[in-house]
């Protein structure tokens, strides 16, 4: 009996491969929903309106990330998701945004750790806003250094992008919080 308890404690302290698989699937969801939104808004031309894209991508990614941190409430889960997301983004979109995502993930994980965010929902909301804030800086650095478009580096566009991102992260985290409650009541998550 004693031996069994020891084994269980050992397992819960670290990550089982099944946890890592779950984190991988949630990361895939984060990326897919953002790509879907970006595609739709580019096709329709709405992406040209400053701040809209940032708001929406921050919103959906925060919803998914909030649910993910509830589903796998282990220290480091948030950082693993953002690390994976950051590496994939680095490969396909360049290093600046990728580093921004990883740094944001680190900052978010720190907030979760300090404020006990894997159990406290408001701390998780705060962590998501912090993550998006740092992530947005990576985005801004990329467009300033690379000058991919002249439009993006106009100062008030940068401010709008940043504000859109933060508002989206906050609203998304709140929506994720209420959605999680709904899912829990309906028995989808335990």
């Amino acid at each position: 009996m004693e031996e069994k308890i020891v084994v269980r404690k050992k397992e819960s302290a670290g990550y089982r491969p099944s946890d890592l698989v779950k984190l991988g699937v949630m990361t895939a969801l984060v990326i897919t929903v953002q790509v879907a939104i970006v595609s739709v808004f580019h096709i329709t031309g709405v992406a040209a309106i400053p701040g809209i894209m940032q708001f929406l991508t921050a919103f959906v990614s925060s919803v998914v990330l909030f649910i993910a941190t509830r589903k796998i409430p282990k220290a480091g889960a948030f950082f693993i998701i953002t690390m994976t997301y950051g590496i994939i983004t680095s490969i396909f979109m360049g290093p600046y945004i990728g580093i921004g995502i990883i740094a944001g993930g680190g900052a978010g994980e720190l907030v979760l750790k300090v404020f006990n965010g894997y159990t406290s929902k408001w701390a998780a909301v705060f962590a998501l806003v912090v993550f998006r804030f740092v992530f947005s800086f990576g985005d801004i650095i990329q467009m300033t250094v690379t000058r991919v478009t002249e439009v993006d580096i106009i100062w008030y566009f940068i401010t709008i992008r940043l504000a859109g991102s933060l508002a989206g992260a906050f609203a998304g985290a709140l929506f994720g919080k209420s959605l999680y409650e709904r899912l829990r009541k309906s028995g989808v998550v335990l």
């Binding site: 990550y15 089982r16 491969p17 099944s18 946890d19 890592l20 698989v21 779950k22 984190l23 991988g24 699937v25 949630m26 990361t27 895939a28 969801l29 990326i31 897919t32 929903v33 879907a36 739709v40 580019h42 096709i43 329709t44 031309g45 709405v46 040209a48 959906v60 919803v63 998914v64 649910i67 589903k71 480091g76 693993i80 998701i81 690390m83 994976t84 997301y85 590496i87 994939i88 680095s90 490969i91 396909f92 979109m93 360049g94 290093p95 600046y96 990329q142 250094v145 690379t146 000058r147 991919v148 478009t149 002249e150 439009v151 106009i154 959605l179 899912l183 989808v188 998550v189």
Partner: protein, 246 residues
């Protein structure tokens, strides 16, 4: 025997199949970095390299498609936003940034997607001593992005059948409803899927503590050295041309 392509699931065709995946990843990082942070002449040079690589890979149609899309975006931004804000002073710079750099980055992604398999990437990361807590989620993520995309298409078709979603412009007519109809089922589906996959993986012994062996062996070979050699010479020549030109 080779695994399927990264995103298409088709058999690997690639003329670059002899290259070690680490070579492809290193090329990807360097090329992306140069395009994003390098001088215009270097971006232009890699734009040409990517056109040649996609031509050799018989994927030139993707290059052309990305070129057309970025060109249309450049046109739209230059004339629409330019007249709106009055602050786009240099359409030529915008052209370099959006069309040349944008097409190059998109083409690098396409080339990598069609020339490397998920198994190869996993193998490469494993050999580069990445921790399992990163490689396993990475592998699952890369493997599941197309599955998620298919789920999206399935949900979209179901919504079309019910008359809820007819065209992409319905996003503006019923945004909240569409958000609920698309995203919430996606989240629930992914959570269920992640449970099922995790159970399947555990059953197949993913957590076994024994040392895992590789079914496909990878390693650097002469092609990798040729590739790097030509790549370095090309970059050097471009850089020198740029210096002389400047």
């Amino acid at each position: 025997l080779r695994h399927g392509d990264l995103l298409t699931g088709l058999d690997s065709y690639s003329k670059f199949k002899h290259l070690d995946p680490r070579t492809k990843i290193i090329f990807l990082f360097i090329a992306n970095f140069i395009v994003l942070a390098g001088r215009d002449i270097l971006s232009l040079s890699i734009f040409i390299v990517m056109a040649v690589l996609l031509l050799l890979s018989e994927k030139i149609k993707y290059f052309i498609a990305i070129l057309v899309i970025t060109f249309l975006w450049w046109f739209f931004i230059s004339y629409f936003l330019g007249s709106l804000t009055g602050e786009i002073v240099d359409p030529f710079r915008l052209f370099i940034g959006l069309v040349i750099k944008g097409t190059t980055i998109g083409s690098i992604t396409v080339w990598f997607m069609f020339s490397a398999t998920t198994y190869e990437i996993f193998n490469a990361m494993d050999r580069m001593k990445f921790p399992v807590s990163i490689t396993l989620p990475f592998l699952v993520t890369v493997r599941f992005i197309p599955t998620m995309a298919n789920e999206f298409i399935t949900i979209r078709d179901a919504l079309k059948l019910r008359g809820i979603y007819r065209s992409v412009f319905d996003v503006f007519k019923r945004p909240v409803m569409l958000f609920n109809c698309f995203i919430v089922p996606m989240i629930i589906r992914s959570m269920k899927m992640s449970e099922e996959i995790a159970i399947a993986a555990e059953t197949r012994g993913i957590g076994a503590s024994v040392r895992k062996t590789r079914y496909y062996e990878t390693g650097f070979c002469k092609y990798d050295f040729y590739f790097f050699f030509f790549w370095v010479i090309y970059l050097l020549l471009t850089f020198l041309t740029g210096v002389i030109y400047a």
